[in-house]
């Protein structure tokens, strides 16, 4: 049966029945101006903001080498020239139409986008569906540009063809490609009339960007990039920043000082204790919002005794003092994480009904942990440390990334907690590269790592539990702990190809169930996507009250900022 839904139907039925990208977890809306929560931190006025100063987007990008090629590893500016088809906010999982106004799945193997009318490139020519098809096909010819995995079998089947028909772009896939949607819509579109004749685009030094974005290059002196607002931008009425200055590559100390003195308007690097070092200096103008992007998790090596025993892992998970870790690693800014592996309360809609109103954070209870360890059959030996079931010593070497202060703070507490559970734990700090090597080789007892809380659960929690996501010798993949269970693999495959929100919720529920009964990894506290900003010039930044975006959706934020005066 051929399933067909239009975008409007998708809106009308939002949450009831729809395809992957317009489902219960992904409500769609056309107008990014109206936030989901209906709250904006301050109304602001319709005036233009004369200048706004932001830090360099990529470390060392403002180093005197001018190149706006969107595929360059250090493009002078990545966000404001070439735009994506759609933007899916990693916080509320809503899809905001951008260069494409609608999408339509015809089964999970054929996807079409309707390209927006009236969008002009900065040289005056009109954006066409042909430009979009050209860009996507460029990724086939030059694999170096295929950073969205369109033409490879990574997460969903690879594309077979991309063609333009009228104002539509039609993509066909060799198999179920539902899982590709999230990365597919992020493709930055370039104009065919420029990029068609530049040779290998990966090697093209783009000094005069012709994009659809809200800004053009005003001036660049090797140090400071000044972007000028485009009058003819397709949603110019929403962009209030007249000059956007992108300058400087600051460390946290420097950035905090610059923010406080007003030389910088926003920053998203790791400023420790922002409440004290920044906000307290001027609580009316200085704000920060550390949105949970995922969780910092304790990941044991499941191929080793005793971590291969779910009862052992569950017992140990109760013995971690997460509250104190959050306090020490994040100054209490990031909340303790739910054992479900979902970031709550943002992903609350995905929780199984049975858990909807329960606290899914495992309580710190050393006595209970010890009791359960005793019951699971790990006796305390003569030296005061627990042994394996057959009485052998079982030391735990915990590896932590040296120099990652938050991880190290948490690691100290983890090791202390493990000792409270009478485990012979030892902490070893090694360079992050060395820890990555351990993850690849599988030669470790336990590490701290990251569980992404993005919108596609199959790619995040799902990948963490999939056998095909074991790290290899040459690649760090997601399933560091090497959890392996054929039934779970089945659930993840089903989830990544699923197009039915009710089914998706059931499947996510099954993954959550594995997390809370087997603890393949133990989430400790949420890991932040940081946003530190001043509101003396611009208001409308994302905040806890209006969590419409994170620092990875700067283009979206640019359309929501309004003048403070």
């Amino acid at each position: 049966m051929k399933r067909k839904w239009t975008f409007a139907a998708c809106l009308a039925l939002s949450g009831a029945l729809a395809l992957s990208a317009c489902s219960g977890q992904i409500a769609t809306r056309d107008n990014p101006g109206t936030a989901a929560s209906g709250q904006v931190n301050s109304a602001g006025t319709d005036a233009l903001i004369e200048t706004l100063t932001l830090p360099a987007e990529v470390a060392d990008n403002v180093a005197g080498i001018e190149n706006y090629n969107p595929w360059s590893p250090s493009a002078t500016s990545k966000n404001y020239f070439y735009e994506p088809l759609m933007i899916r906010s990693s916080m509320n999982c809503q899809v905001v139409p951008w260069l494409a106004t609608e999408f339509l799945w015809e089964g999970p193997v054929k996807l079409s986008f309707t390209i927006r009318d009236g969008v002009k490139w900065s040289d005056g020519q009109s954006l066409t569906a042909q430009d979009v098809a050209f860009t996507l096909n460029l990724k086939k010819k030059y694999p170096a540009l295929d950073d969205i995995g369109l033409w490879t079998n990574s997460f969903g089947a690879k594309a077979e063809s991309v063609t333009a028909e009228g104002n539509k772009v039609i993509i066909t896939f060799t198999g179920n490609a539902a899982a590709k949607f999230d990365s597919l819509i992020t493709a930055k579109i370039v104009p065919e009339h420029v990029w068609g004749s530049v040779g290998d685009p990966a090697k093209y030094v783009d000094t005069k960007p012709v994009g659809t974005g809200p800004f053009t290059v005003g001036s660049y002196n090797g140090r400071k990039l000044v972007l000028d607002r485009r009058e003819d931008y397709w949603q110019a009425d929403k962009v209030k920043v007249k000059h956007l200055v992108i300058a400087g590559n600051f460390d946290a100390t420097n950035a905090a000082l610059k923010l406080t003195s007003g030389q910088l308007d926003a920053y998203w690097g790791e400023i420790p204790n922002p409440a004290n070092s920044f906000q307290a200096k001027d609580p009316n103008l200085n704000h920060f919002w550390y949105a949970p992007a995922g969780s910092t998790v304790f990941t044991p090596n499941l191929t080793k005794v005793p971590w291969n025993d779910a009862a052992f892992r569950m017992a140990v998970s109760q013995g971690f003092d997460k509250q104190q870790m959050s306090q020490k690693a994040t100054y209490g800014v990031m909340g303790v994480a739910s054992q479900t592996g979902l970031k709550l309360p943002y992903a609350k809609a995905l929780l199984p009904d049975a858990m909807a109103n329960t606290d899914t954070v495992l309580k710190y209870d050393t006595a209970k942990a010890n009791e359960q360890l005793d019951a699971a059959g790990y006796p305390v030996g003569s030296d005061g440390f627990r042994t394996t079931k057959d009485g052998k010593a079982m030391p735990v070497t915990f590896s932590v990334q040296a120099g990652w202060i938050d991880y190290q703070g948490a690691a100290d507490i983890i090791v202390r907690n493990l000792k409270e559970m009478k485990l012979d734990a030892k902490l070893i700090a090694s360079p992050p590269d060395a820890v990555d090597l351990q993850k690849k080789s599988g030669d470790f007892d336990a590490v701290l790592e990251y569980l992404n809380g993005g919108c596609e659960v199959a790619r995040n929690l799902g990948a963490k539990l999939s056998t095909d996501q074991f790290p290899t010798k040459s690649e760090v993949r997601t399933n560091v702990g090497r959890y392996s269970d054929p039934a779970t693999d089945q659930i993840v495959t089903q989830l990544s190809g699923s197009t039915d929100p009710a089914e998706q919720r059931t499947l996510v529920g099954q993954l959550v169930d594995i997390m809370v009964t087997q603890a393949p990894v133990t989430p400790l506290f949420y890991a932040p996507a940081r946003m530190i900003y001043r509101t003396d010039k611009a208001v409308g930044w994302p905040s806890e009250a209006d969590p419409y975006a994170t620092n990875s959706e700067m283009l979206l934020i640019m359309t929501k900022l309004r003048s403070a005066k």
Binding site: A63, S154, N254
Partner: protein, 329 residues
């Protein structure tokens, strides 16, 4: 002549060894540059997207052939002056990246090294000549004390005090709103921005010269020829400058040559603290992000610089001090 030929021979041999090590060391390092790059772009807490890594690998390319073939290719590239393409600034050639940063380091570190040497030698010689005086105590104790401070700490202190609290000097970068080139506005801007980093260097680098010069000179002052000169009735000034200081200067010449060669390495920590656009900052970033082509070229320049400076010092030494020439031939 044999002395010079031998020095040249040593120079070539060390150069070859350095080039070979420079080729081998990155290849023995764990870690994949493409993965590093994606990780750096994504940030610390982020899931690595395999599609991004695959694209990055395709972009940066991977070396072809076995290690020996790569070595031969590397040598022939070097001979042609081709240092490859930077990973971080792909597709910009490494030489372009270095050319952007070179003038900054050359001027900042070059000028301060020269000034430090002169100031250090003069203060050291004076302290030795007036040893055990108040001046000597202040200079020696003072520089020993300052010498124990970490450069980046002093840099942060100055940055905070003069940059943020007093606001007298800019806090980061090499220039601000002017356009680079030979115009007064830019030169003024650049000098203004270099005051704080230069102050840190001028505070810390003379110390080695002061203490070194003072010690050698004190040793020389105890020599018989000084006593003879004094007995002959040579004026104090001449004894100090012509006899003692001149001889005490010899070891410092080699040191100075090494320091000049080392300029190409930049001042890593200080340049990073002030976000100064020189070679040291680039080197730090290249090391962090495993930008091997850039790192290799920078290390090679530093090594060649030091070796060349050493060679010149050796040759000069032969001219300055006939004993060296004789002992070696």
């Amino acid at each position: 002549m044999r002395y010079f030929a031998r020095r040249l021979g040593y120079f070539l041999l060390t150069l070859w060894a350095a080039v070979t090590l420079n080729f081998l060391i990155p290849r023995l390092q764990p870690g994949d540059p493409a993965e590093m790059m994606v990780k750096k772009l994504a940030g610390k807490d982020a899931e690595l997207d395999p599609a991004k890594i695959a694209a990055m690998r395709a972009m940066l390319g991977s070396p072809e052939g076995n290690l020996f073939d790569q070595y031969v290719a590397y040598l022939s590239q070097l001979l042609r002056g081709d240092f490859g393409v930077s990973y971080t600034y792909f597709p910009t050639p490494v030489t372009d990246v270095i050319a952007k940063a070179l003038p900054w380091t050359l001027v900042l570190v070059g000028v301060t090294t020269l000034l430090s040497f002169v100031v250090g030698i003069v203060l050291g010689a004076l302290a030795a000549w007036k040893r055990n005086s108040l001046f000597d105590s202040v200079v020696t104790l003072g520089s020993t004390f300052i010498g124990t401070l970490q450069a980046f700490w002093v840099a942060l202190l100055l940055l905070f005090g003069f940059g943020y609290i007093l606001g007298w000097f800019p806090t980061s970068g090499g220039y601000d709103s002017s356009t680079p080139g030979f115009n007064l506005e830019f030169l003024g801007d650049a000098i203004y921005h270099s005051v704080l980093p230069a102050a840190v260097l001028l505070l810390l680098t003379p110390i080695g010269w002061i203490l070194g010069m003072r010690n050698t000179m004190i040793m020389n002052l105890g020599e018989d020829y000084i006593r003879l000169a004094k007995a002959k009735g040579v004026p104090d000034r001449q004894v100090a400058l012509r006899y003692a200081a001149r001889n005490a200067l010899l070891p410092s010449v080699t040191g100075f040559a090494m320091a000049l060669g080392g300029i190409l390495g930049g001042q890593l920590l200080i340049e990073q603290t002030f976000d100064y656009p020189g070679l040291g900052r680039i080197m730090g970033q290249a090391a962090m992000s495993k930008d091997y082509p850039l790192l290799q070229a920078l290390l090679l320049f530093t090594i060649v610089g030091t070796l060349l400076a050493n060679l010149v010092a050796d040759l000069l030494y032969g001219v300055l001090d006939p004993r060296a020439r004789k002992a070696n031939s």
